[in-house]
């Protein structure tokens, strides 16, 4: 447990002339669930996109399993086992559910692919029932399940989840979080970005608070859960 699976050291990145991240450093260890919480606009999504190579790293580095990720193209980063389930899910709405999963499983050996996809249908029966339908016909929560299933099929060393509960009704939020808990239980390391801070912190082994592009707090999930500073990061000092 001591070796870091992902080691991020002083990453700066941003868009055009705007720097959004001003030196982020953090770690995720094998089998760990780490949450990043923070208000909107703090840079959480930018951080994940930078890890995945969609936003260029300006300085600093990210190392997965001892191999440097920064500077690689997105598909190469995926090949190293860093899989992101992006904000807004980005399912391919015109393609069928089966095809979305096939794409997720593209790197699984052909012989095991069928079984892997079927196991997802078992886990998410609602997907299995509608496998031939276009993914766009699913509801928001179902689309999120599809996106997570698709991410898991890529056999992640580390799964990045960006706001998986966004826009979902409370009942569905609970369902998604129980899925995340299951994923962690199988030993896959998870880096979870959430605005639903309380649930994310309650679930996390460790967590970081991101404010305006900097990490301002870190600790175990339960430590941070009851820190007033966390609430302040969201609602300001009036709360």
């Amino acid at each position: 447990m001591s070796a870091a699976l992902l080691h991020v050291d002083g990453i700066h990145s941003g868009y055009g002339r705007i720097e959004v991240l001003h030196g982020i450093s953090l770690e995720v260890r094998e089998g760990e669930l780490v949450s990043i919480v923070g208000a909107n606009g703090a840079g959480k999504t930018t951080f994940l996109l930078t890890l995945s190579g969609l936003v260029r790293t300006r300085s600093g580095s990210a190392v997965l399993d001892g191999k440097r990720l920064s500077g690689l193209r997105p598909h190469a980063i995926v090949a190293r086992g860093l899989i992101q389930v992006p904000e807004g899910r980005l399912i391919l709405a015109q393609m069928s559910i089966e095809e979305n999963l096939q794409l997720g499983a593209a790197r699984t050996p052909a012989a095991e692919r069928r079984a892997a996809i079927d196991s997802m249908y078992e886990r998410f029966p609602v997907l299995g029932e509608r496998r031939v339908l276009p993914a766009g016909s699913l509801s928001g929560g179902e689309q999120q399940m599809l996106a997570i299933a698709r991410g898991l099929l890529a056999r992640p060393r580390l799964l990045l989840l960006d706001e998986p509960s966004m826009g979902l009704a409370p009942k569905l939020v609970d369902a998604i979080f129980s899925i995340i808990a299951e994923v962690r239980a199988t030993g896959t390391a998870v880096l979870l970005v959430e605005q639903n801070a309380r649930k994310a912190l309650a679930l996390a082994d460790r967590a970081y608070v991101l404010e305006r592009g900097r990490i301002t707090l870190s600790g175990t999930g339960s430590e941070l859960l009851h820190q007033p500073a966390v609430v302040e990061a969201y609602l300001g000092s009036h709360a």
């Binding site: 606009g41 966004m166 826009g167 639903n196 309650a202 609602l235 300001g236 009036h238 709360a239």
Partner: protein, 256 residues
């Protein structure tokens, strides 16, 4: 003296309720904060107001004039101005030109006058540019950036320029969509003063913002959206004590 009325506004995107039964008023001279978690429907409400999205149910009226059903440019012409969450300036125009375009619809000098060098047209143009400079000064765009094309201005200046451009329309209603995003605390404090001073000129301001200190410090009223529904309205203090609001933002702790 209320200006902008939302009555039972609902929007459906292919079966998904983006907004549902939203009713509240915005009075001129007041700043109303519109808050809620991501995906709660805040930007959709702005889009309904400005005619980008047609409401599925309910109505938006400005005084007694229904806005729903009108085109975007028609709504702008009756005095509804906005800024954008993802800045939408005219990227290859200078800061001053951006503001002057904002005033396009309120000018009344004859277009043909420009071709015969009519002195009054020239004067009107100079006045317009004067006014643009005044507005840029007022929102706090540094003087040396006034003649810079918008796309290369610093981020904070772009945000302020958007406000100046909206003000050039002399709006009766001003909708600000996350104006403080990307600003530092000092800039945010200036923004707060600016918004207050705009409201003082009898403009109804609606502020969508995640920066809670700004919302709490600026707004007369706060409306909270969650899953497309209005879950609370009231003064900032009332709202921030409302358990439903805290829950909406931070979620419940309970794990399934």
């Amino acid at each position: 003296m209320s200006v902008l009325h939302y009555r039972d506004v609902g929007v459906n995107f292919g079966g998904v309720h983006a907004l549902h039964g939203v009713s509240f008023d915005v009075q001129s001279g007041h700043v109303v904060g519109l808050i809620g978690p991501n995906g709660a429907g805040k930007t959709t409400l702005i889009n309904v107001t400005t005619g980008v999205v047609a409401p599925t149910t309910g109505s938006v009226t400005l005084d007694d004039m229904p806005l729903s059903g009108r085109r975007q440019y028609q709504i702008a012409r009756v005095g509804v101005a906005r800024t954008y969450q993802n800045i939408r300036l005219f990227p290859r125009m200078t800061a001053i030109d951006n503001v002057v375009v904002g005033a396009t619809r309120i000018r009344h000098d004859p277009d043909l006058g420009a071709f015969v060098f009519l002195p009054s047209v020239r004067r009107a143009r100079i006045e317009l540019q004067e006014h643009a400079r005044y507005l840029l000064h007022r929102v706090g765009v540094p003087r040396d950036e006034w003649d810079t094309v918008a796309s290369v201005m610093p981020y904070g200046s772009q945000r302020r320029l958007e406000i100046a451009r909206a003000l050039a329309m002399r709006p009766r209603v001003l909708l600000l969509d996350e104006p403080a995003a990307g600003m530092n605390p000092a800039e945010t404090a200036n923004l707060q003063a600016l918004i207050r001073s705009i409201a003082k000129e009898d403009v109804a301001v609606m502020l969508v913002e995640h920066d809670m200190p700004l919302v709490m410090g600026t707004c007369d009223q706060v409306a909270v959206l969650n899953f497309g529904e209005l879950i609370a309205t009231g003064t900032p203090a009332e709202v921030s004590r409302d358990p439903a609001v805290v829950e909406a933002y931070l979620g419940s702790e309970a794990l399934p």
